[in-house]
């Protein structure tokens, strides 16, 4: 499993399929809510097509419903998505060299979920074809199921909807745990990231957009300072794996 070397477009589609499953209930519900907020099918689908950011889209719906000024919704969108600066900066260290325009295209497909899948690949470098595969299947699911949600205007059975709300988090755990095994640095990074975020969340110090950013950067810096003397790399585990292959 961990030994598969993911490089091709179709391997990207396959690796991204758990994201597609996770997006299914979230996008379906978004389509439904958009309809009840008074958006047309075209308007709802266009938001998923052009913006492609779950949290911001849900936020936009609730702000639209309460009559908040459009420019304020745009500002909020930026704040919610500012963490992607960190993710794509991190990803730039991990992807293979490619023409700028090509990177500018698949950068559009970087979400919390696609980032997690790409960044936790065991290969030293992520190929452009693989990145396109992951991005495309996730994006298709998001846009497609937004339209379906608006069209059928009905929810999944309640018990299934409840159960599926765990999908994306289960995926994050499924991506994290293999890297944690035998790598104390990864365990520490995740634990401190979680601890800082919980502290900020329960103390209401920052909005979610900022608190994820602060928790991530805080943990990444603290742990790097702890390890800077021992010169242990976070990729230690993956380089061992590659050596075995």
């Amino acid at each position: 499993m961990g030994c598969l070397v993911n490089t091709t477009f179709s391997q990207g589609l396959k690796a991204g399929s758990s994201i597609a499953i996770g997006y299914f209930p979230v996008a379906l519900t978004f389509g439904l809510l958009a309809k009840t907020t008074g958006l047309s099918m075209l308007e709802a689908t266009a938001m998923s097509l052009l913006v492609y950011a779950g949290a911001s889209q849900y936020m936009a719906l609730s702000l639209l419903a309460t009559g908040v000024a459009p420019w304020l919704i745009v500002v909020n969108t930026f704040i919610v998505n500012i963490r992607h600066f960190l993710m794509t900066a991190s990803l730039s260290e991990k992807v293979e060299p490619a023409p700028k325009w090509m990177k500018a295209i698949y950068a559009f497909g970087v979400t919390d979920e696609t980032f997690s899948v790409l960044a936790t690949q065991k290969n030293r470098k992520v190929t452009t074809a693989f990145a396109f595969g992951v991005a495309l299947i996730a994006y298709s699911s998001w846009v497609g199921f937004t339209a379906v949600g608006h069209l059928i205007g009905a929810n999944l059975p309640q018990f299934l909807q409840n159960a599926m709300s765990v999908a994306l988090y289960a995926m994050f755990i499924g991506l994290l745990v293999p890297s944690m095994k035998g790598n104390r640095k990864v365990v520490l990074l995740a634990a401190i990231g979680a601890a800082i975020h919980c502290t900020l969340y329960y103390s209401n110090l920052l909005s979610t957009g900022w608190s994820i950013l602060v928790a991530t950067l805080g943990s990444a810096i603290i742990v790097e300072l702890i390890y800077v003397k021992s010169k242990k790399n976070v990729d230690h585990w993956s380089t061992q794996q590659e050596a075995k292959n």
Binding site: S18, I21, G22, G38, A46, M47, L50, A60, L64, P70, W71, V74, T77, N81, R83, F85, M87, T88, A89, S90, L91, S92, E93, P97, K100, K103, F108, D112, F115, S116, T120, F159, N162, A163, M164, V166, A167, Y169, A170, M171, F172, I173, G174, L176, V177, V186, L189, A190, I192, A194, I196, H197, I212, A215, T216, A220, I221, V223, Y227, V234
Partner: protein, 100 residues
């Protein structure tokens, strides 16, 4: 919704795209100081911790729901199942829990 909706969409699209595009496209091939590059390589694991907690505990009113999700997903991932089966297995466990 009128024209203002479409202007808002355009603004949202730009506000979302720029943070995704600028670092990935323009940090390309730049030799960063080792400490910066080390911090950047730490980001995926730090962000996963922050994305999972505390959000997973609050996916439903019943916090036990999220707790079961955490335990089942960790267990399935720990025994080495592929991500897809971790996702499906956890959904199945919680579907069972909400039917009981």
């Amino acid at each position: 919704m009128g024209a203002s909706y479409w202007w808002m969409l355009l603004g949202m699209a730009i506000a979302t795209y720029l943070p995704r595009m600028i670092p990935l496209t323009f940090l390309d091939g730049k030799e960063l100081p080792p400490i910066v590059s080390g911090v950047l390589r730490n980001i995926p694991y730090a962000v996963l911790g922050a994305l999972i907690f505390p959000a997973i505990l609050h996916i439903q009113e019943d916090m036990f729901f999220g707790v079961i999700g955490v335990v089942v997903a960790f267990a399935l991932a720990f025994i080495g199942l592929d991500v897809m089966f971790v996702v499906i297995g956890t959904i199945a466990a919680l579907a069972l829990y909400s039917l009981l």
